[in-house]
Structure formats: structure tokens, C-alpha cells
Amino acid sequence: MNLKYFAWIAEIIDKREESLEIPSGIETIGQLIDYLSSIDEAYKKAFEKRKSIKFAVNQVLVNENELISKADEVAFFPPMTGG
């Protein structure tokens, strides 16, 4: 699965993008966050403020219950501040 991180989330994880093998049984964004938080302190720290994080699957904004698959591009970012 291709994962992307932006803004302060990318700074905490110290990566902007990575390709990860995700174990079977992880079917939603919420489960993916739980899994990532369990494998490394940096993810745990980045996802601490879970309610202030937004997610996109294949560049479309979704919620935590969105189903995901291996071929998806999943992005994590804070609320947007453009313009």
C-alpha cells in the first residue's frame, strides 16, 4: 500500500511517502492507523491527535471507516489551510 504524509504529520514520521506491506485483516483507515501506531513510536506520536487528522484514499477525502485495499494510495494530513 502506498502511504503519503503531509505537513506536521510528515515531520513527525520523518517521511513523506512509503510503500508498506499491510497485514491481512486491516480493512479500514481506522484499523490502518491502529496498526501503524503499534509498530513505531513515530506513527503513534503522529496519530495521537487522531481527531485532527484527515484522510484521503486515492485523492478523495474519506472518513476512518473507509474500506482500503493494497492497491490504494492512502494519505494522512491535518485540516487544510490553503488560499
Partner: protein, 148 residues
């Protein structure tokens, strides 16, 4: 309709020429330029961006604008990367037969860009760096639009 997500600065005269070339039968053209506010001590502003998603989201929003108002053309340019105080950040040009359409659509697109397009601003000062937080007032401006 043209959406451009870029690190490069823009020249308004050139942008208007392109805008008019694509559709010149406007009775009204509205232009908005957003710039880096020269806050006290601000050295630079770093703008992070998810370009692929920004392109899609802004296009969707421009299509919604076209369904809400009678528009002849829309051009949106949003910069990312490292910008200095007074640098241009964003340009929105909307054209229509009558001014109310181009002005309303322009404001609608800007309200969308402020809180729903995937860009993130970080202010760099000599002694600190601050990620700008989303403002409740910006969200309220977006949600006040009917049917959004």
C-alpha cells in the same frame, strides 16, 4: 477551466491574456490575488501541498461553481514551496456576462481553497516555526454557501 498547482510565481498580465484567449466574451472579470502577509518577523512561509488531490478537488469545486453561476471561464493558480512576505500565493480569475456571477463564484472558490483544498501553511520566524491552524471562521464562510 484551468487549474495550475505550481512552485512558480505568476504575472497577472500574462495570466489575463491566457484567460481571455480561452474565452473572451466576458462582460465581467473578477480577479483575486492572495499574498503572504508580512507579519512581524515573518521570514518565509512554507506551503506543503498534495498536488494530485489539489488538482482534482479544485476542478470539482470549479465545476460546482459553474453549476451555481453562469460563468464563461475560471482560472485558478495556487503556489506551494517556500515563499517570502508579499509573495503571491494564489490567483483566482472568474469571467461571466454579469458581475454578480463572476464576483460570487470568485469568493466561493476562495472560501473553498482556504479550508478544503489540500495545502498547509507553515510560518517561519527567526526563533520558531508554526503550522497555521484551520480557522473556524474560514469553515463558516464555506458552509454558508447554499448546497455546499
Amino acid at each position: 477551466m484551468d487549474i495550475n498547482i505550481t512552485k512558480d510565481d505568476f504575472d497577472l498580465t500574462e495570466e489575463l491574456e491566457i484567460f481571455n484567449k480561452n474565452s473572451s466574451d466576458h462582460g465581467a472579470v473578477s480577479i483575486f490575488i492572495g499574498k503572504v502577509r508580512p507579519e512581524n518577523g515573518l521570514q518565509s512561509m512554507q506551503i506543503d501541498c498534495y498536488p494530485e488531490m489539489a488538482q482534482k478537488e479544485i476542478k470539482n469545486m470549479a465545476e460546482i461553481a459553474c453549476s451555481k453561476w453562469t460563468l464563461n471561464n475560471i482560472r485558478v493558480l495556487h503556489r506551494y514551496g517556500s515563499l517570502k512576505p508579499n509573495d503571491n500565493i494564489v490567483l483566482v480569475i472568474t469571467g461571466s456576462s454579469h458581475r454578480s456571477d463572476s464576483m460570487s463564484a470568485n469568493q466561493f472558490i476562495m472560501d473553498f481553497l482556504k479550508s478544503s483544498a489540500p495545502f498547509w501553511k507553515k510560518e517561519i520566524y527567526p526563533d520558531k516555526e508554526i503550522w497555521v491552524e484551520q480557522k473556524e471562521s474560514d469553515l463558516r464562510k464555506l458552509y454558508q454557501w447554499e448546497n455546499f
